[in-house]
Amino acid sequence: MHLFETSHLFPHPWSLLTSANFQKYPNIHSPHVLTVDILSRSLHPTTGHLHTERLISVTNTSSGPAWVRALLPISDICFFHETSILDVRNQHFEATSTNLSMRTFLTLEETVKMRPGEGGTVFTQTAVVNARGVLSCAARFVEEGAVRSFTNNSAKGRAGLQTVVDALLEQMTDRRLA
């Protein structure tokens, strides 16, 4: 098992970050994300929290050494399932996504949280990687590779979110000037 964690402060209010998050794709930093669909969305009857379930597909551009790709049925497109809970009263957002594809070989679970912090919104990202089955003999190797990918991609992910925040701010400015 391998764990990856990162935390970043966005100098913007939580309301703007969460709005941007729902509109995150497409963005120039995330060309690997192919499709995003909402499977379900509802307001919890007692808590009033917004529950969202999404299906996301990404291109599989890296994924380890040639021998791994040769042995395993790695397809070009991977699917992820994301569930999120948004508590507007307490300003807490949490989303967890996990791979639907290739689960017999590898499980990736990523959790993103957003809450207000001093000077903006704290964005934390945690990923847990587990190699399974036939890959378990090369578990450490595969897991370290996945963590390296996460490290590279998390910076792109934050940059992607920032570009959407900037676009929303620009729209708001245009509306005020109009």
């Binding site: 499709t35 379900s40 307001l43 929290h49 299906l55 507007v88």
Partner: protein, 79 residues
């Protein structure tokens, strides 16, 4: 952002536009009255058809069982 099924792109765009406006202008201001339900119904029907055709429905069902989306997991108000 495109949908898993190109046929659903237009419905998805209409739903996303509706939801994003509702989220920013209503929900964040405390107005939780439902909106976008009609377009969401049409959009969902479209994508679930594609999901079944691509045999993703079983994978999604398994994922839902592994991590049920229910009150037990919805504890963020306690943190």
């Amino acid at each position: 952002m495109t949908s898993i099924s190109p046929e659903c792109n237009e419905l998805k765009k209409q739903y996303d536009d509706c939801f994003n406006k509702w989220y920013a202008n209503k929900f964040l201001q405390g107005d939780t009255s439902p909106a976008c339900e009609q377009i969401f119904t049409l959009y969902r029907a479209c994508i679930w058809k594609a999901i079944k055709e691509k045999n993703l429905d079983q994978l999604i069902s398994d994922a839902r069982k592994e991590k049920p989306f229910n009150a037990a997991n919805d504890t963020s108000s306690n943190t």
